[in-house]
């Protein structure tokens, strides 16, 4: 067992974990953060994407021990005081989901993408989300939602 200290969605945790425990299993099985789903388990689909120290990562491909002393944000930590994150709201308003399984990962990857590029073209959104698969193939509305969120975030930015 290895002792880790992490901050997940604003709350500090200390836990003893087996070194082989994957971050996604730690989040779901230990902390009950089941908002982060497991899709392919092979680093392909991006459904399990979370932010690790602010950057998008696939949590099925990171060991919990590698996240020691890091800050993690999951889909459960992006809203504040009951108000959705602009990306969440845009996904809702543009109906950017069909079955919804890829949605948490899509939203986390989009939040990271918009940090680098606050006004992405359609092509930039498609490139930026290439690591996130929508098995329902509902990409048109997803791209639309990310661009809508970008616009709203630019308007509300101080």
């Amino acid at each position: 067992m290895t002792r880790i200290s992490v901050n997940v969605d604003g709350i500090a945790y200390q836990d003893d974990v087996e070194p082989r425990l994957l971050l996604v299993h730690y989040l779901r099985d230990r902390l009950g953060k089941t908002g982060t789903p497991i899709g392919c388990d092979t680093t392909n689909c991006g459904a399990c994407t979370v932010l690790l120290d602010g950057r998008s990562v696939k949590s099925c491909s990171v060991l919990a021990v590698q996240a020691d002393q890091c800050e993690i944000t999951t889909i459960e930590g992006v809203s504040s005081d009951g108000t959705w994150h602009p990306v969440q709201r845009a996904f809702h308003e543009e109906h950017a989901l069909q079955c919804g399984y890829c949605t948490p990962g899509m939203i986390m990857a989009s939040i990271d993408l918009l940090k680098d590029d606050p006004d992405p073209s359609e092509e930039a959104v498609r490139d930026g989300l290439e690591g996130n698969l929508c098995r329902c193939t509902g990409y048109c509305n997803i791209v639309r939602a990310v661009r809508r969120a970008a616009q709203e975030m630019r308007v509300t930015a101080p």
Binding site: P19, G46, V57
Partner: protein, 287 residues
């Protein structure tokens, strides 16, 4: 799947890492970003007894301008390489190829040295390493040695790293002004490995190609230089003769057969992609 159990060791210096690796024995593996190793562990294709996590060894990370070459620390992430002003200015081919590795989330974790040490011929960086004659700086408990890219890749997933050795960083020689670069890759889906990739650097002067370096991805068990093309383009006009030269791209290669392509199709791809890469590189000389 869940990986088999292993001991986890986290050194904070390179010396400590070398000691830990030596003490852990032959069944230990070095863990950096883990984006090649962890998938292998999860598929239980590998079950090391111990992992030495070099992810927090500060001296292994970062990019430095060292005069005649650029030094890229082994655990520098792909994302850091792509956004490094030093890499962009002095070895743009590295930035171009690295930007096509997998997808953004993978590039945030995966490391430059890790993917080279993994020695996957379908990876994008090994062909760039041989095209640019990079040098690999390898540390062991008894000292340090330098391995040229031409001697680093031995076979499929097999590098010249001995048990107990750690790749500390890579020297990328600066080519100087007048060179143009391109990395052309064919893959079935956005984040898939290259079916075939071609890394090209071309030095042009007055409409004539003076010199070219061409590295091939996934045209055999190790990355190779397309020396036939390099020979044929020397002194050629940057026009139709490039197509003719690219026709020699698959000379001496041993492309694999897999679900994505048969060898003859890969040979065809190598010729077509090399032509495109030469045209593109010759059209945009820098400096």
């Amino acid at each position: 799947m869940i990986p088999a159990s292993f001991d986890y060791l986290r050194p904070s210096t390179l010396d400590e890492a070398l000691t830990m690796l030596a003490e852990a024995g032959e069944d230990a593996k070095v863990l950096a970003g883990g984006h090649s190793l962890l998938p292998l562990l999860r598929l239980r294709l590998a079950y090391p007894a111990a992992l030495v996590d070099v992810g927090r060894v500060a001296e292994l990370r970062g990019v430095a301008d060292r005069g005649d070459h650029v030094y890229i620390g082994a655990t520098t992430t792909h994302d850091e390489v792509v956004h490094s002003p030093i890499v962009k200015e002095h070895c743009p081919l590295v930035a171009l190829a690295t930007a096509t590795v997998a997808d953004p989330a993978v590039r945030h974790r995966g490391t430059f040295g890790g993917s080279l040490a993994h020695a996957d011929p379908a990876g994008d960086l090994p062909s760039v390493a041989v095209a640019l004659d990079m040098e690999f700086v390898v540390h062991s408990p008894t000292g340090r040695r330098t391995v040229p890219a031409s001697g680093f890749f031995l076979d499929y997933l097999e590098s010249a790293l001995e048990p107990g050795e750690i790749l500390a960083g890579v020297r990328v020689p600066k080519l100087g002004p007048g060179w143009g670069f391109h990395y052309e890759k064919f893959h079935r889906t956005a984040q898939a490995w290259a079916t075939v990739g071609v890394a090209v650097a071309v030095r042009r002067s007055n409409g004539t190609v003076e010199e070219a370096r061409v590295g091939l991805t996934n045209m055999g068990p190790i990355p190779v230089r397309a020396s036939g093309v390099e020979e044929a383009v020397r002194g050629a006009e940057a026009g139709e003769s490039l197509r003719e030269a690219a026709g020699r791209a698959d000379e001496g290669t041993d492309p694999p057969a897999d679900l994505h392509a048969q060898p003859d199709y890969r040979r065809h791809l190598a010729r077509v992609l090399t032509h495109r890469a030469l045209l593109s590189a010759a059209a945009h000389p820098t400096g």
